[in-house]
């Protein structure tokens, strides 16, 4: 276990004040200057999740997330610490809103002259499946808020362990200014059990701990440039690393890992599952710094199979009304009209990443989408900002071992960053869900939009996880999940219920969702035009998801979090 020493002697290891052994409040306390800690929206504000008690799950009074303000090295900082003991650190409506609203308040202060850094302590299995779609959206809001704050003050991610960071929250980790890990930490998009459920035990054996840490472990992430600082589990050393990160301030625009499409592209160009690379090969292949790697003479894959007709392909072609449909890569299609760029992820039976052949969002899809979005931003820098329309029909993100080895979360962070950058630059970003929109796939391609439209059709499914996998992870049966979904609307797989959550800007009824008629195209086209108009006059952040009529009913708890945090943000108020 010498790797757990991370440079320490065993005497130092025994004498250390452990960080991992602390609860969320203890961790926040260990990082902030002594005596400066002020807990906001704490247990006595009773912001517990409204969705757990009806499911027979005991809630926690602060919903398992501590927000603490204070100073680090004398500078204003807000720490958001996830309690890993409570429901595996899963992101729910309330716990997610606490993080995003705290980041937004820090951004507001930073913009008006008080730079306020944020530290996020990631210990999470990802979206809390008991609050599925509200958790998924909460993650999208957290990602957006990280990106809102990041240009003004550093956002420091800390993954100490032992839960680690999984699911969509790892995308947020990939957006951080600096990421600090311990050898006990793990960072991945899909957790081992989920990959095993979706891809079989040959794809990933979730009982093989050596494999898990070889792929997701803090040491490996650091050795491949996906984490910046590796420190042993010692509160003093973690605090010192946080102090350093905050002192270093905000890097130049374009230098964040999630903005480095050049690095991502060069890494993926030399990475091929067909050669069966092992985790141990990656540090040599890519290097430990996040800089471009030299190109190899890898031959381009020959195209053979005809791509299958899918809703994404059909709607992209129909909505762009005769514009040339161009394949950025075979699995990412683009069509550009005078006022919009349409993008869709589609199946590619010859995808060299075999876990992404059915239209999943994988590594190369994330990169291609990010590049396409950045191209529009670049082209319109001094012109009217064209709309970007994400046509969404994707089974999920790619659940694969090679995806996790390469850091799928980091590739998705690049796409999330790109869509956010477009929205903030004034491009109306509209998502149109015409088929499935599952989990991390939807987080990457759709959930950063100003406006989200969906077809009211049985083939449209929006959710945080496939039902079979969700059943396995939450130790329930599929029948039990069906029963719960009748009363707990964020858990429902029915798009009509999804539309009640506060972030649906239009539920559209068409006659043929598989093969749209001219009238269908007319109707959806008009809805997009209207959504673009609303986006141009509406907010460029995601606040409309809390201010909508539906949110006033369904997202009462999130709105209370926003009010309580705003009221308590400054001392004495």
């Amino acid at each position: 276990m010498s790797e757990l020493l991370a440079g320490q002697t065993w005497q130092e290891l025994l004498a250390r004040p452990s960080f991992i052994e602390l609860d969320a409040l203890g961790r926040a306390d260990a990082l902030l200057d002594p005596g400066s800690v002020r807990v906001l929206a704490g247990p006595f504000d009773r912001l517990e999740s409204p969705w757990l008690e009806p499911q027979g799950i005991t809630p926690q009074a602060d919903d398992g997330t501590v927000v603490a303000r204070g100073t680090v090295d004398g500078r204003p900082v807000v720490v958001t610490a996830i309690e890993q003991g409570f429901l595996g650190g899963g992101t729910g409506e309330v716990s997610g809103a606490k993080i995003s609203q705290a980041l937004l308040l820090a951004a507001e202060d930073s913009r008006v002259g008080t730079p306020t850094a944020a530290v996020i302590l990631f210990e999470t299995g990802g979206v809390r499946l008991q609050e599925a779609n509200l958790g998924l959206n909460a993650v999208a809001e957290i990602c957006s808020a990280v990106l809102d704050l990041r240009p003004h003050a550093p956002v420091i991610g800390v993954v100490a362990g032992t839960v680690g960071s999984f699911g969509g929250m790892s995308i947020a980790a990939g957006l951080c200014t600096r990421l600090i890990v311990t050898p006990q930490a793990r960072i991945g998009l899909n957790g081992p059990a989920v990959i095993e459920q979706e891809g079989g035990v040959d794809e990933f054996d979730s009982r093989d701990h050596t494999l898990i840490w070889a792929v997701d472990g803090g040491g490996q992430r650091h050795a491949t440039g996906l984490a910046d600082v590796l420190v042993p589990d010692d509160s003093n050393l973690l605090r010192a690393a946080v102090v350093d990160a905050i002192r270093a301030g905000v890097p130049e625009p374009g230098r964040h890992r999630s903005e480095r499409l050049d690095v991502l592209a060069s890494r993926l160009a030399v990475y091929d599952p067909a050669t069966a690379p092992s985790p141990g090969d990656l540090p040599a292949l890519w290097g430990g710094s996040y800089e471009p790697v030299p190109a190899s003479s890898q031959p381009a894959a020959a195209k053979a199979s005809d791509p299958p007709a899918t809703r994404g392909r059909s709607w992209l072609a129909a909505l762009s009304r005769g514009a040339t449909v161009e394949a950025i890569i075979p699995s990412v299609l683009s069509a550009t009209t005078p006022d919009a760029r349409y993008l869709a992820v589609v199946p590619d039976p010859d995808n060299r990443f075999y876990r992404a052949r059915q239209g999943q969002v994988g590594l190369t899809e994330s990169l291609a989408l990010a590049q396409a979005v950045h191209d529009v931003i670049e082209a319109d820098r001094s012109a009217e900002r064209r709309a970007i329309v994400a046509v969404v029909d994707l089974p999920s993100q790619a659940y694969g071992r090679y995806e996790e080895m390469a850091g799928l979360h980091q590739a998705m962070a690049a796409t999330t960053d790109a869509y956010h950058a477009a929205r903030v630059a004034g491009h109306p970003v509209v998502a149109v869900v015409v088929g499935s929109a599952l989990s991390g796939g939807f987080l990457t391609h759709g959930l950063q939009a100003n406006q989200i439209l969906a077809l009211d059709d049985p083939g449209v499914e929006i959710h945080a996880m496939h039902q079979a996998a969700a059943a396995r992870i939450t130790l329930r049966t599929v029948d039990e999940l069906d029963e719960l979904a009748k009363t707990i609307i964020p858990m429902s797989y029915d798009v009509k219920n999804w539309a009640k959550l506060g972030f649906c800007d239009g539920l559209l009824t068409v006659s043929n969702a598989d093969d749209p008629t001219p009238a269908d195209v007319e109707l959806v086209g008009a809805a997009i035009t209207e959504a673009v108009r609303r986006a141009r006059v509406g907010p460029r952040d995601l606040s409309n998801r809390l201010d909508s009529d539906a949110a006033a009913t369904t997202r009462k708890a999130s709105r209370r979090v926003r009010d309580v945090l705003a009221r308590q943000w400054n001392p004495g108020s």
Partner: protein, 101 residues
Amino acid sequence: MQTLNYRFPARGVATHPIHVGVVASGDLEILLEPPGDDGDGVVVRVRTSVDGFDTVWHDVLERFFTRTPLAGRWELNDFGATPGVVNLRLRQASEAAGTAS
């Protein structure tokens, strides 16, 4: 999940709010607040993930509050803690309530 309510007589009074523990597997959190409108005794609400242990809860709480009759509103959010853990958390909360805020 079950919600259980108990009342016990008291002598001392909690003067400031106390929070201890986590709703983690085998653990519980306790929120203790000074007495409210519902009287000046010990008022306990237990929410527990494990059904059917009403009698055990009653006995554990009665024994504790007989020795430590600290008036206040006690909320216990439990995730399958054993009686031993429950006792430790109750002592932790009452000791914290006895120190100056």
